[in-house]
């Protein structure tokens, strides 16, 4: 089967799976899978750019996704004037001082190569930073802590948060890339793993910025609210015309709205990624991936190119993260788990086919579908297995309870099987 035909067949399978869910379960669940599938596909596209095309092993996807989520809060939430008056400027000045301290210490090291002066700069800067920060942050966090207790955002339209999420992630990627690229592959992996944990720790702890574990609820939405639709006589009439009750119709309408927005983003990014892959730039990146030494000999700046593609890929993950938080309507820092947001995306890329953009997108949809559907499937399977056990037995209850953990097991098995028997993935690189 040629690759083109294979691609069509595979995507047809995805469509059948999602439409099938619509018929068998409900159209709401089908659209839910489709929406998160679209977001996952964007994330997978970002990781594929880094791994599939440039061979960079980034396991900090979760961090960039979370930064995208932060961007939604910072861009779209209405600002809290009392908090700004209490210490907003002071808190941000402290952040600037912190950044200046780090920059200064890096410069000192580069110019003078003297570790002691660098440490002195860091210590002095840290003391000033804490002095400026603590009072400001305390003031912000004590402004109506139950309802706000943070600075809020800029109050801009939420769609703007998506590119901003990309920019935030790109900025973080620049800093990480500057320090960690150039290390050997598994060191880069460990470094990015660490960075992502730190980003989550920041989101959880810096309450003045992100409201921490108190979460930010009720984020603005780019689509209408279900309640408004249900109260709109025109919409109710139209729903009746389609033969739907207003509640179902409104939820479907909203989800479909998200699907269209996400699909537009995915198509734009996919087209760009395809153009990049087939351009001289893409060929150069693959050449660097396949043989760094000879690319260097050909006069390519490997370190710079790595940095470039690392930033691009991370920015895409940031955009996806912002889209996801918009879809959820809330930022919940404690919900970010590496297995779900880093390693699952990796499974998507590997299963779909690393190096092939369409493969990554396919993997995003397929694995997300599997991730969602494993639980009901496992439940059914367990019901069959435990049928013979007496009602009320401890083992039966335990087995039925544990179904929720089947997901991880399944993902591991899928990843290992693909790595072993089809290491190029479902849609191999050409």
């Amino acid at each position: 089967m040629s690759l083109t035909l294979r691609t069509y067949v595979m995507f047809a399978v995805v469509i059948v799976l999602i439409v099938g869910t619509g018929f068998v379960q409900s159209w709401n669940s089908a659209l839910l899978i489709l929406n998160m599938g679209l977001v996952s596909a964007v994330m997978a596209l970002g990781v594929n750019l880094q791994w599939g095309i440039a061979g960079l092993f980034n396991v900090g996807v979760m961090g960039f996704v979370a930064l995208g989520g932060l961007a939604v809060v910072l861009t779209s939430v209405a600002p809290v004037p009392e908090a700004w008056a209490a210490g907003g400027v002071r808190a941000w000045v402290a952040v600037l001082i912190g950044a200046a301290t780090v920059t200064a210490s890096v410069l000192v090291w580069k110019r003078m190569r003297n570790a002691w002066i660098m440490i002195a700069v860091l210590i002095v800067g840290f003391v000033i930073y804490r002095y400026v920060r603590d009072a400001g942050v305390d003031a912000i966090e004590s402004v109506n802590p139950a309802a706000t207790g943070f600075l809020g955002g800029l109050g801009l339209p939420v769609i703007l948060a998506w590119p901003v999420g990309g920019l935030l992630a790109a900025g973080a990627a620049w800093i990480i890339g500057k320090t960690a690229l150039g290390l050997r592959s598994d060191y880069l992996a460990i470094a990015t793993l660490g960075i992502s944990e730190i980003i989550i720790a920041i989101l959880k702890n810096e309450e003045w910025l992100s409201r921490g574990v108190k979460n930010v609820n009720g984020l603005p939405r780019p689509v209408p609210n279900e309640i408004d639709l249900q109260n709109d006589p025109g919409f109710v009439e139209a729903a009746a015309g389609w033969g739907l009750d207003p509640t179902t119709a409104s939820t479907l309408y909203v989800k479909l709205g998200y699907s269209i927005l996400f699909a537009v983003v995915l198509v734009i990014l996919l087209v760009l990624a395809q153009l990049a892959l087939n351009s001289p730039w893409g060929r150069m990146m693959r050449a660097i991936r396949d043989n760094e030494v000879s690319s260097r000999a050909m006069g390519k700046d490997v370190t710079f190119r790595h940095l470039q593609v690392f930033i691009l890929g991370s920015a895409i993950c940031g955009i996806a993260g912002a889209m996801m938080t918009t879809l959820d309507g809330q930022l919940t820092p404690s919900s970010y788990q590496p297995l779900r947001y880093t390693f699952l995306i990796w499974v998507m890329v590997i299963v779909g086919g690393s190096g092939n953009n369409l493969g990554a997108v396919l993997g995003g949809f397929l694995i997300w579908f599997l991730w969602v559907q494993v639980e009901p499937m496992g439940q059914a399977l367990m019901n069959v297995i435990t049928m013979g056990l007496p009602e009320g037995s401890g083992l039966k209850a335990h087995l039925l309870d544990s179904v929720q953990h089947m997901r991880l097991l399944t993902m591991g098995v899928v990843l290992l099987l693909v790595l072993r028997f089809s290491p190029k993935g479902l849609l191999p690189e050409r």
């Binding site: 092993f57 840290f126 603590d134 320090t179 960690a180 290390l183 050997r184 592959s185 598994d186 060191y187 992996a189 460990i190 470094a191 793993l193 660490g194 960075i195 944990e197 730190i198 720790a201 959880k204 702890n205 788990q337 590496p338 297995l339 390693f343 990796w346 499974v347 590997i350 309870d401 544990s402 953990h405 089947m406 997901r407 991880l408 097991l409 399944t410 993902m411 591991g412 098995v413 990843l415 290992l416 790595l419 072993r420 290491p423």
Partner: protein, 336 residues
């Protein structure tokens, strides 16, 4: 008197927890370093192997407790460790046979191994949660303290108390025994020597008739033992929760790299460096400084450099500093 009080406070909140945590990290890092030295990849499944091992120890502990077996003042878990090691070793050898051996035969690149280990991580994580759930479990029993704060105050007449938990004492003693046994094994036995030879130069080792599969098997056995001991001690000392064990991956990697990947001595030193930095940077120094400094200089704030939740940031900073300035680590491990 103030000076003694400062010293006791320091010991109580920094030194003792630091030493116990450092020993746990050192045992964990030894496992990572051995896998890296012999099999030549960073094992991302290490944290979840630890969770699995601890889980099996917990199950055996509960079994023994239901039989009424106990070690008196010591936790029953000690009795269960050997059985936990057997279960974990069986799992790891099985994994090696089914998963890793194929890639060894192919001479796959290290990065492929890392990815495979991510798959293994998912599976172990799933198994652990499947059997015992994702919740916290407590399984310590026996005497809780070696020294209680109140007894210490009465004994010495100081204002500050010193607590030494049984689990902390146990951690250090066990760690010393395990490490001593490991070094004796590596330096004095035939298999240990062949392991070191294999780690130093694979081709030469193969040439001199060392069986690679044997070396790999023994490595997994040792790693299983280290992982179970480390995980059980950590679980006894703090608490058992699969996700916490997964997160331990980062400080453990940091310890192994700081010490120099592939160097057992380095792993131990690295464990303590990371542990003391974490405890020291996230501890509020107010009390110690209040005693140690004259009243006029006593601090107003908590003097806590970073909030406790940033402890990952600490291991990460150390990692970055070492990678940038001394990529081979403190003890000249492998770099590239």
């Amino acid at each position: 008197m103030d000076f003694l009080n400062a010293l006791v406070t320091l010991a109580n909140f920094v030194l003792i927890p630091g030493i116990a945590y450092g020993s746990q990290l050192a045992l964990g890092a030894l496992g990572v370093t051995l896998v890296y030295g012999i099999l030549r990849f960073s094992n991302f499944a290490h944290g979840d192997t630890m969770a699995f091992g601890t889980m099996s120890v917990i199950l055996f502990t509960w079994l023994f407790q239901s039989w009424g077996l106990s070690l008196g003042p010591l936790p029953t878990a000690l009795l269960a460790i050997p059985f936990g090691i057997v279960a974990t070793a069986a799992l790891m050898l099985g994994t090696d046979r089914v998963v890793y051996r194929f890639y060894r035969a192919q001479k796959a690149k290290p990065i492929i191994f890392v990815m495979v280990s991510i798959g293994v991580m998912f599976i172990y994580n799933g198994i652990t949660r499947f059997i015992l759930g994702a919740d916290e479990q407590r399984f310590d029993d026996g005497e809780r303290f070696i020294i209680r704060a109140r007894d210490f105050k009465e004994m010495t007449g100081l204002d500050e108390g010193l607590t030494l938990k049984t689990t902390q004492g146990l951690t250090v003693v066990t760690a010393v025994i395990v490490v001593a046994a490991l070094f004796w094994f590596l330096n004095n036995t035939r298999t240990g020597k062949s392991m070191r030879a294999f780690s130093d130069n694979e081709d030469l080792a193969l040439l001199s008739g060392i069986s690679p599969e044997h070396v790999v098997r023994v490595t997994w056995l040792i790693v299983a033992a280290l992982v179970v001991v480390a995980g059980t001690l950590y679980g006894l000392d703090k608490t058992y929760k699969p996700f916490t064990y997964f997160q331990l991956l980062l400080p453990i990697f940091a310890s192994a790299i700081v010490g120099g990947l592939g160097s057992p001595l380095g792993a131990i030193a690295g464990g303590f460096v990371v542990a003391f930095s974490e405890v020291g940077i996230t501890y509020a120094w107010k009390k110690v400084l209040g005693y140690a400094l004259p009243d006029s200089l006593a601090p107003d704030g908590l003097v806590q450099l970073l909030a406790t939740d940033y402890k990952f940031a600490v291991s990460f900073m150390i990692l970055v500093v070492v990678l940038l300035f001394k990529p081979t680590g403190l003890f000249r491990g492998k770099s590239v």
